[in-house]
Structure formats: C-alpha cells, structure tokens
C-alpha cells in the first residue's frame, strides 16, 4: 500500500525489538469480543490512485460547475476569480502539511502570514484587531454573540431579519441550551429596502440587550447605515455586531468599524477561497482593542527572539481551551488557517487599489443587471441600494423557475423559498449576485431566461 512505508520485514523486526510475537499483542487492551479479526466487512479493499481518481471524476461529472454555466448565485457564498498563484502558495507543503504553529522558531512562515492576515482583516473591517480565523461566518457570528455576553454580562441578543437565515439558525441552536435569549426579528422584503429593520432593532435595544446583530449588505443585498443603530446600542450599553458575508463589498462601502460596530464577523470565502459547495470557508472575527481578552480563537502577536530579532508567536492563549479549559472564551481549536493564507495572498495581490477596482466592477455590473431586469415587466427589483447582490420579486413559483433555468444550464439566482420555506411573501423572491466573473454573454442569457419566465 503506497502510503505505508513499513515492509513486512520491518514489522517483524520491530515486533522483535518490542518483545511481542504478534501485532495483536499490542492491542491487548481492546476487549477481545470487540476486536475484528480481519478487514472490516462491507467496504472495498485498497485501490490504486488511478482507480480512485476515476471514481471521483465520475462523481464530479454529475455536478454542474459554476464555471460551466452563466452563474448568479450568492446569499453568503460568492464566485470570484482567484489568481493561480494563490492556489500554488497554499499547496506548498511547508504551509499545507504543517500544524498549528506551536513551535514558533520553525513556524515563522505560518505566524507571519497570520499577523499579516490579522492586520488586513482589521483594516478592511475598520477595527483594531482581528483573530487568526474561525470556521466560517456563521460560527464566527454565534461566537460574537457569546463574546458580547461575556463583555456586557447580559444575555439577550437581538438579531436583524436581514441576517442570513442559516446564521440565525446557528445562533438559535447554540444558544438554545444555554440560558441566552435570542430576539430574532423576522425577515421582511419591503420595496426599496428589503430586509431593513434598523428602526425595529433600535426600538428593541434595552438594558438587557447584550448585542444587536445586523448584516450589511444584508441577505437581500440591501446596504444600510449602521451609525444610528450603533449609537443606540452604545447608549444602552450593548454591543453592535456587524456581519459581512461578502467581504468584497468592503472595497466600496463604509466599513462597519467606521459606522460604529463593536465586533465585526464575516465570511471571508470571497477572497482567496472557492465555492467548495459550502466549505471549507473562512470565519473573520474583528473587534476593538479593549475587548481583546474576550475574543475567541487564536491570536498571533509580535515579539523578539533571544537575539532581539523580531518574530511572531501565538499569544494570549490564556483565553483558549488548551490553557483555560471550561473557562475558555471558546472551544475552538483547529480553525481555517489555510483559508486565511489564501485570503492573505489574494489580498496582498489586490491591495487597496485592487480591492477598490474589484468592488467597482462587481457593483457596476450588478447595477447593469438590476436595471435590465427592472425593465422586464413582471419583475420588480426590490433594492434601492445594493453592492453586488439584490433581490427581485416575481409572480411565479420561483423555486420551479430556478430549477427550470438550471436544466437549461443557467444558474440564475437563489430562490428564497429554500431559505424561508414558510414565508409566502419571500418565497416569490430571488436573490441574484453579479461578480466580476459574469460575462456579457452570461448577462444576455440571464435576461432572456427571465424574459421567457415572465412572458
């Protein structure tokens, strides 16, 4: 077997050195009755690389890749072009096959990019500090809620209806069994500002509120000014948690930090990551300096070596499970290191200039598509403001429509019925994302498909 270096001769010699007869002598602690006496049943025997590759090719061919059709899906996962150099870098064995940098003298590669990553994320979100990543946006979000509880010593989290429903579900699940209280506002798809419930949120904040969670741009693509809400939160001693699921938007719109957010969590997949059917993704977590010791997750910090040379180490680990155990700020251990690297490399290639250009292209194209869709009678574009994603309403069964388009090799948006199964109003909506990967031909195909659908 190609991955196993021991030969039978080696094995024999080693058993001899150990002083046992048979390999099973080493498994003596395993209850005899439970020991399997041969290869487990129901599974095939080992397979060559060629055979395995064929199996996966066959499975892969049963999926319709985004690159192979005009593609307009978003809602928390975005298709962007990732430079080939990013994938090369993350495949280098020194990054790919190393562990968490517990021995800093031979892990400066990982540590330095984490320091760069933290700085990039902090600047992008407009915050003081960021951690070395979380699993994804949804888990970063619930960790932020827990952190707000620790900081404020209050238990009620108010969640906007504009937050991705999966994120809301995750928050509900993880707070269900603790004594946290979740005040989740319903999603509303009003004309002009779908999902905007800032007024209701402002009204909901009180002295029991630990935090208000709001997504910007929200699930429906709408962009809101969070400053008023932030002021209200601060007035009441609550924290404002801003969720960003499309980080490219931060190249065009004000950062949550600038609008007063106390914690910014996000899904970083857009930069450096692929679609990957939902994972692995990249949880971003940023906050202000004063709350640093309540943060979840790993942090990398600057220090010096024995000769005074600058270097980096994991730090403030007294927050973490391996030191603090049940008193840790989170149970997270393995995070999304390699995705953070992909993010850092891609962001380094972009720089501010590239981020701004990328954001402008995304937005401008989205505006173009929105205007062309709006011109079709039977289709209403709900958003006045948006970045690269917006929501339309039709008078047809949108889930059937989306499936029908897929059969003609067009992935024309996310029908919101899948995310809001119970809501008759929202079920008639579709959210579309338009990124730099969309071509003019793709747009033409989309427009004609929608024209056909409402005709």
């Amino acid at each position: 077997m190609r991955y196993l270096p021991l030969t039978d001769t080696d094995r024999q010699a080693m058993l001899g050195t150990i002083g046992v007869q048979d390999i099973d002598d080493l498994f003596q602690d395993v209850p005899q009755a439970a020991r399997l006496d041969g290869p487990i049943e129901g599974l095939p025997m080992h397979a060559s690389e060629m055979a395995v590759e064929r199996h996966f090719s066959a499975l892969a061919r049963k999926n319709k890749a985004a690159a192979h059709s005009p593609f307009f899906l978003g809602c928390g996962a975005y298709k962007h072009h990732v430079p080939a150099s990013v994938d090369y870098i993350i495949q280098r064995g020194e990054f790919l096959t190393s562990y968490t940098p517990y021995q800093p003298e031979i892990a400066q590669g990982t540590l330095q990019y984490l320091f760069e990553f933290q700085t990039q994320v902090a600047r992008l979100t407009g915050m003081d500090v960021a951690n070395a990543s979380m699993y994804d946006g949804s888990t970063a979000c619930v960790e932020a809620i827990f952190m707000a509880r620790r900081v404020t010593r209050r238990k009620k989290a108010v969640i906007s209806g504009g937050v991705h429903p999966h994120y809301v579900s995750v928050a509900r699940t993880l707070t269900h069994f603790t004594d946290d209280e979740i005040d989740a506002h319903p999603a509303t798809v009003q004309q002009g500002a779908p999902g905007d419930d800032i007024e209701a949120l402002v009204a909901a904040v009180d002295e029991h509120t630990s935090c208000v969670v709001v997504q910007n741009p929200n699930l429906f693509g709408h962009i809101a000014d969070l400053s008023g809400l932030a002021a209200r939160c601060h007035e009441k001693g609550a924290l404002l948690i801003a969720v960003v699921t499309e980080v490219v938007s931060l190249g065009a719109i004000k950062s949550p930090g600038e609008m007063g957010a106390d914690i910014v969590v996000g899904e970083g997949q857009s930069i450096g990551g692929g679609l990957n059917f939902g994972g692995p993704y990249l949880g971003l977590f940023a906050c202000n300096q004063k709350h640093v010791r309540q943060m979840p997750g790993r942090l990398c910090g600057e220090t010096v070596d024995a000769t005074g040379k600058r270097g980096f180490v994991l730090t403030l680990s007294t927050r973490e499970q391996h030191i603090r155990r049940e008193k840790a700020t989170s149970n997270i251990c393995t995070n999304s290191g390699l995705m953070a690297l992909a993010f850092t490399v891609h962001m380094t290639l972009l720089g501010e200039e590239g981020m701004r250009r990328l954001a402008a292209i995304n937005h401008n194209r989205a505006v173009e598509v929105a205007e062309r869709l709006a011109a079709i009678s039977g289709i209403t574009v709900l958003n006045d403001s948006f970045f690269n994603e917006f929501t339309i309403r039709l008078e047809t069964d949108t889930r059937a429509l989306v499936r029908k388009m897929a059969r003609t090799k067009l992935l024309g948006g996310v029908s919101l019925g899948r995310l809001y199964p119970d809501d008759g109003d929202i079920e008639r909506c579709i959210t579309l994302a338009v990124t730099e990967t969309v071509t003019d031909d793709d747009i033409d195909a989309l427009i004609s498909a929608y024209k056909g659908a409402v005709a």
Binding site: M1, P5, D10, R11, M14, T17, V20, I23, L26, F27, Q28, D29, V30, L36, P39, I40, L43, H46, A60, R61, H68, A77, P83, S85, I90, E94, L96, T97, T100, I106, Q108, E116, L124, Y135, D136, A252, S255, E267, G278, G279, Y281, G301, T303, T307, V313, Q321, C333, T334, S336, L338, M339, T348, L349, L350, G351, E352, R357, S385, A406, G417
Partner: protein, 525 residues
C-alpha cells in the same frame, strides 16, 4: 555518531564558527522577509482589473471614502514573499512531525488533486440539488464509510472540526435529556482530556466534574461510578486516551453511565490507533467525532481547516443536526434542510450548527484517502501506527521515563515525563528546542496534564523504520547529552532555526496583534 548521518559521511568538518556576519542579514537559503506592510504600498496591485469609476448612485450614500490602507504587491513580489515565508516552516513533507494527539501523517497529493476538480471545488452550496447530485452522492458515500468503520447507525457530517464535533455530540445529548424532561447539570471529564472537552461541555451549559486518572493512566472506573447520578448528563471520554492508552474498561463505563441515565460521548481524535481493528459502536458509546484532518489525512494546513463528523448511536440519532443527505424514493440524493424541518420531517433534530452543509473540500480528500486504503489498508494503518509508537516507546524507555510503560503496550503514541531529567536544570521545553536543531519537529509538550513535563510522541504509520531509527538515535544522544550536563546545547537552542528562541512572555504582556507604522522615534533607533 556519524552513523546517524544517512549520507554516511563525517559532517564534523568545520563548524560555522568562522562564518562572517552577512551584510544582508540573510544566510544563503535562509532569507529574511519583511512584512507586506513594509514592502507593499496601497497603489500597487498584482491583479489586472480595469480601473472603472465606482457608480455611487445605488450605494445608499455609503461609499467608502476613507482609505482601506492595505498594501498591494505585484505578482512576482507576492510569490517571493510567501515562498520565503513558507521556507521558514517545518512540515510533514520535510520530516517527522510527532505531535502527540495530532496524527500528523502523510498528506497524499492525490487528495489535493481530486478536491480541486471543478465538479467539487466550483459548485455553490445553494445550487438546485439536481445540479449537485455527484456531491450529494459523495457525502452519502462518506457517511457510509464512517458509519461502517465505527459501527454506528447515524452520522452528522457538518461539524467543521473536532471541537465543533464535540459540540454536535453534546448538543444531541442535551437535546435527548431535554426530551426526557431534564437536561441535567454536569458532565464528567477525565483529567487527561483535551481542553476542548471541558470547554465544549461549558458551551452547552454544563458544569464539568473532573475524574482523576489511575496510576496506569486510565479512567478510574470506581471514581467514575461514584460520581454517577441523576444530575450527570454523561461523560466525555477519549479513547484511545491522550496518554496513548486504550480505555480497556470502556464497555463497563458505558454500561454504568447508561444505567445512570447518562450518555457516553467519545472523543475520537485518536481513532487512528484503532480504525479497522475495533468498531467504537461495539463498545457502547453514544456519539463520537472523527477528525478527518487526523485519521483521514486531510491536511492540517498550519491550523485548519478540518472537519469533525459525528457518529451517533440509535438512541441519539433522532437528535442529530441538519442538514444531512438521504436518497429518496426516485433514487435522487437530497439534502434534509430547514424546509424539511418546517414540514415536520426529522422533528427532533437539534437544528443547524453551521451555514450550508459542512466541509465539502475535506469530505473529498478523506474519502479519497479511505478508498485508497480500503478495508485492508485502514486496518494496516492502525496496526502500523501502533507498532511505530510501541517501537519508539520500547527503544526510548531506558533513556527517558515512560510513566505508563510498565502497564503494557501503548496505542498510537508514546508518553514520557520529565522525571528522567530531574536535576539537570533542563526542561521538556529545552529538549524540544534542541530537537529543532536536529531537524525534527518536537513532540507535544506538557500535555496531557496527568504527568509532569509530558512529551507525547505520535509517529503515525507513515514513518519508515529507518527514519524512526534515526530519530530514536538522535533522541538517545540528546538524552545522554542532558545527563552529561551539556546544558548549552539545550538552553541556547534552537541555534540553527530562522529565529532563536522566541519570547512568548513579552508577546503576551503588551500584545501587538496588528502591524502599525513604527513611531518615527522608534524607527530612528
């Protein structure tokens, strides 16, 4: 000692004593590298994008005017920057990485290749399910393998790592208790457990009660039984445990916990030791996470991503989270999601614990790894992992102290304490740093907490005997150097790494977590 040098040559020649200080600060292939903030600038970019004016009409008046202040680099500079950084790392691809409890095994590149097939890497989680049938089938296959290997009837794939899997398992346990009317208050956690175990229990709203280890390094069954009662929700037990030992009383423990109305959560981080040799389900556990990034070789990536599917017993299965994959009557694969829940399908599920459907990229890799090994190969994996660890244990126990070695063989990892170096003035940390100079990644240090100055060595099955022999010879030489009082070799170590020993205390005292322009005064120093 020249025998250790595989080139068979005497390397004692000239040391570096006469080497000059270089002007550049570089040392041949060991290259200094500044931060991107020190070399890039905001106007530079390594991506060719057209320079369109942002149309601001539909940004709701919220255009970003302030600088983002992130520097860019051209592509050649970027490649160099990250290549240079990478070269400051140690990795499995370079040599032994015997971090106990981490299962740092070979990461096949086949897995990287198949995970990058567009049909997996370039599909969106919300695509119509008819367009992702291959992906769903793959998840179904992976589920089948995991259930078969563990002998458990149900599996939740979505947890994103081991700790997230623990959360998944404990939430199911809590949900089951709640369904019975009382969540109970306390979870038992052995002293040797990984930090994520108590942290997870706390995350689920449970108090933690610790169980001491016996002097053989295992759970004290009597002490455990004494603690059982109506407020004990269950136990989180690691098997094989973090001393590298199989909890041989696990069946008895499970029975006792069940009798007291509790559930047994098994931390499966060390499944590599037993995969294909015994099915955990046959021992009576109720839930167990599997680190695909350990046992099934998806790469650690310098810290992640991982994937921590959880298998469930029949009793806990109804509470398993959403989403999951099933095959419907027409033979199509489908995701059971919110809408099913809304329709009353799978009503007892404790719900969703992550957006979308989990770590697809890791599923592909893990399944490719499993299929490559097959039933026969996976069994061999466990056997070779255990054989390698026992070989290390037996060859080193005479030189270093192995507190549990008299009790019999270990499983996949060999545990040593610092007993043997008492009086030398040196610590486990010093030995670890000297290992760096010798070209090895140190073992896990100071964990588990049940022995002093722990050194936990997990070689895994992907080490050859020759490599292990070389490693063991070096460890013996180091141990003898400790005893011979060669203090400098250790205290000053590492000497040859890109940096000398780093000051972790200073880092924590005044944390500097992001880069900022140095003060003019400071810069002038």
């Amino acid at each position: 000692m020249t025998s250790m040098n595989a080139k068979g040559r005497d390397t004692s020649g000239k040391a570096l004593a006469d080497a000059p200080q270089t002007f550049s600060g570089n040392r041949a292939l060991i290259l200094d590298e500044p931060l991107i903030f020190e070399i890039g600038d905001r106007s530079r970019t390594g991506v060719d994008l057209s320079d369109e004016a942002l149309s601001e009409d539909r940004l709701g008046g919220l255009a970003r005017n302030r600088s983002i202040d992130i520097p860019g680099l051209s592509e050649p500079e970027t490649m160099r920057h990250f290549t240079r950084l990478s070269r400051m790392n140690y990795a499995i691809d370079m040599g032994l990485f015997p971090l106990g409890s981490c299962t740092m095994k070979h990461n096949p590149r086949l897995n990287e290749k198949v995970a990058r097939m567009k049909g997996f890497a370039d599909i969106h989680p919300m695509q119509p399910q008819s367009t992702v049938q291959g992906a769903l089938e793959l998840m179904d296959e992976l589920a089948y393998w995991l259930k078969t290997l563990t002998g458990m009837p149900e599996v939740a794939l979505s947890p994103k790592a081991g700790a997230h899997g623990e959360l998944c398992g404990m939430l199911a346990i809590r949900a089951a208790h709640e369904a019975n009317g009382n969540p109970r208050s306390t979870v038992l956690v052995p002293e040797s457990a990984h930090g994520t175990n108590p942290a997870t229990a706390a995350f689920c709203g449970y108090g933690v009660d610790s169980i001491l280890a016996t002097k053989e390094g295992k759970v004290d069954v009597a002490a455990l039984k004494a603690k059982l009662g109506p407020e004990i929700a269950g136990i989180m037990i690691t098997n094989p445990n973090t001393c590298g030992l199989f909890e041989k009383d696990l069946i008895e423990i499970c029975d006792a916990v069940h009798e007291a109305g509790g559930y047994v959560y098994c931390d499966g981080a060390n499944f590599n030791a037993i995969v294909g040799k015994v099915r955990p389900g046959d021992l009576g556990i109720d839930a167990m996470h599997i680190n695909l990034h350990k046992t099934f070789s998806t790469p650690h990536g310098g810290g992640g991503p991982g994937s921590g599917p959880v298998v469930f017993s029949k009793r806990l299965a109804p509470y398993a989270p959403l989403p999951f994959v099933r095959k419907n009557d027409e033979g199509q694969f489908e995701l059971v999601e919110e809408e099913n829940l809304a329709a009353g399908d799978h009503p007892d599920s404790f719900g969703r614990m992550v957006a979308f459907h989990g770590q697809m990229g890791m599923y592909v890799r893990a399944l490719a790894y499993m299929m490559s090994h097959g039933a026969d190969g996976l069994r061999q994996v466990a056997e070779d992992a255990v054989l390698n660890a026992n070989y290390v244990l037996r060859r080193l126990e005479g030189e270093m102290s192995a507190p549990f070695a008299d009790g019999g063989p270990c499983m996949h990892e060999a545990l040593f304490s610092d007993e043997w170096m008492k009086g030398s003035g040196l610590s486990t940390l010093d030995v670890a740093k000297a290992m760096i100079d010798e070209g090895y990644h140190p073992m896990t240090m100071y964990f588990p907490l049940v022995v002093d100055g722990a050194m936990l060595i997990e070689p895994t099955e992907t080490e050859s005997k020759a490599d292990l022999d070389r490693f063991i010879d070096v460890m013996i030489a180091l141990a003898r150097a400790v005893k011979a009082g060669e203090t400098d070799r250790f205290k000053g170590a590492p000497y040859y790494a890109p940096l000398r020993r780093l000051d972790e205390t200073q880092a924590a005292r005044k944390p500097k977590l992001t880069w900022s322009e140095p003060d003019v005064a400071e810069a002038a120093e």
